[in-house]
Amino acid sequence: MSSRLARILTTVFILAVVLLPIYWLVSTSLKSNREITQEGTLYPHVPTLDNYIRLFTEKQFGSYLTNSLVVTFFSVAIALIVGAMGAYAIARFRLPFAAERKVGLFLLTLRIIPPVVILIPVYLLMLSLGLLDSWLGLIATYTAFNVTFCVWMMESFFREIPVDLEEAAMVDGDSRFGAFRRITLPLAAPGLAATAIFAVLVTFNEFLFALALTATPRAMTMPRGTATLIGRIDTDWASMAAAGVIGALPIVFFALLVQRHLVRGLTMGAVK
């Protein structure tokens, strides 16, 4: 009996540690600045949605959201297509210099180097291409990051699918590429989904490159726009909190929706 009580208390304690900070964010976003600084209330006594309305009417949060969705969608979609093909080529074919066996190490090396290391040259590259502060510049950058990750994840999924199935399809008259597209790709769909989910998460949340590569609401993403807003308004706590809620809501909602795949993708690399 006492061990059950201890278990319940521990669970409640963990929930409180995780959820209290989030409660405070949401509750602050529903207060007025006067209530926040002068009354110091623990919950909103006069709840208001003004802070949220101001974000969209005065602070261009509509553009940030659009930019984030466009950039995330295209960079993940392109990386998935390109990455799945590349991963398949490595998993199934023999390449000159046994390159298919070295790609893994090459991608691992690229993944270990902190992204901040190539921040300056990528900035200079986009500057020289005239792609600063544009969707295209961000999409190109994020696609490259996502491709390395997609190839790395997808290769192992393809290896698990037996070659016999493709052979059978080719005997039945499929081309080599047709066998990949009609047989292997659908079988690897769960792996593709886990890869896509993880890529969406990382891309939507990315801040460092968005900070260096964008400068106006034309291309600023959600994290970038949010950080700019709070850089300007040091004491407008209410707007800051509302921006935090709006900035996190899409991705938290998405993550909870696809929870099961997400946990698989997050933990697979380490346990394997």
Binding site: R7, T11, I14, L15, V17, V18, L25, T28, I36, T37, G40, L42, V82, G83, M85, G86, A89, F93, R94, L110, I112, I113, P114, P115, V116, V117, I118, L119, I120, P121, V122, L124, A140, T143, A144, V147, V151, V163, E166, E167, S175, R176, F204, N205, F207, L208, L211, A212, P223, T226, A227, I230, M240, A241, A243, A248, L256, T267, G269, V271
Partner: protein, 301 residues
């Protein structure tokens, strides 16, 4: 057996247009990676040996930029702060994550809710995590001050005080990333074989003995991988500090990434910043690969 599947795999390459297929499939990805990752890496190496003014190279510097790093007190301080930050955060995350995973190993009511809730901190945008903690730490409007007021205390100073700000940053990181450690270690615990544990139970071994003699030794590889992965990530931490403290007060929370960013974009010392980043990249790679080699040796023995 291996040879037979290999041979079949190669026969599948077929003839005619199909011969080019592997290259056609590989080409788009390769082009993107070469253009946007590998070329910049090379370009960064080149930039690190030059002196820049207003964004364009004006002189060759040879290895001067690299040598200068080691007499730059701000660089050395940033490196030290980063090492402290990584060591402290990752240790707490490993211990807490392990404890949580052991706690959640046995099914009980409420465990699904607990797992769902634990996903939230690590998926929230890091910039927003920093906002959350600014709202907790703020001396005038923060949660800590509000709680302290409700209990009759006064203002709580976190971000204005060097030591407190650093601890505050570690707390943020532990809050955000313990769940990842927990998920990895839980998956590891669930994949352990049952037999040794049943044998131990039959022998009447106590909980502590089972942990010290069975669970911990068997979990060591997974634990090591989780720690290495997390440490690599923590080394590059940027977003949270940028929004929470911007490196301050003074240099108390100025991690290496923040110092590099400021050197490049605030002080416009492009070549020097490039050398700094190349050095960081090499340090992280060296640490990661020696960790991997160490792991292989543990695995082999």
């Amino acid at each position: 057996m291996q040879g037979a599947t290999q041979a079949r795999r190669y026969r599948l390459q077929g003839a005619g247009l199909d011969l080019a297929l592997p290259y056609l499939m590989l080409a788009p990805g390769l082009m993107i990676v070469l253009g946007v990752l590998v070329y910049p890496l090379w370009d960064g190496l080149r930039a690190s040996t030059r002196v820049y003014r207003y964004g364009s190279p004006v002189a060759d510097a040879g290895f001067q930029n690299y040598l200068h790093l080691w007499s730059d007190a701000q660089f050395l301080n940033a490196l030290w702060v980063t090492v402290k930050f990584v060591a402290l955060s990752v240790s707490f995350e490993a211990v807490l994550g392990f404890a949580l995973a052991l706690f959640c190993l046995h099914e009980f009511r409420g465990i699904r809710l607990l797992r769902t809730v634990l996903i939230i901190p690590m998926v929230i945008t890091p910039v927003v995590v920093a906002i959350v903690f600014r709202l907790i730490y703020a001396s005038d409007a923060g949660m800590l001050t509000a709680l302290s007021n409700a209990m009759g205390g006064g203002e709580v100073q976190i971000l204005g005080n060097p030591l407190n700000a650093f601890i505050g940053l570690v707390v943020l990181d532990v809050w955000e990333w313990t769940p990842l450690m927990f998920l990895i270690l839980l998956a590891g615990l669930q994949s352990l074989p049952h037999e040794p544990f049943e044998a131990a139970r039959v022998d009447g071994a106590g909980a502590w003995r089972v942990f010290a003699d069975l669970t911990f030794p068997m979990m060591r590889p997974v634990l090591a991988v989780a720690i290495v992965l997390r440490a690599i990530d923590a080394f590059g931490t940027f977003d949270q500090v940028f929004v929470l403290t911007r490196g301050g007060p003074g240099e108390a929370t100025r991690l290496i990434s923040i110092y590099g960013y400021d050197t490049a974009f605030k002080f416009q010392q492009t070549g020097y910043a490039a050398a700094l980043f190349v050095t960081i990249g090499l340090v992280v790679l060296a640490l990661a690969f020696s960790a991997i080699r160490l792991l292989r040796r543990i695995d082999a023995s």
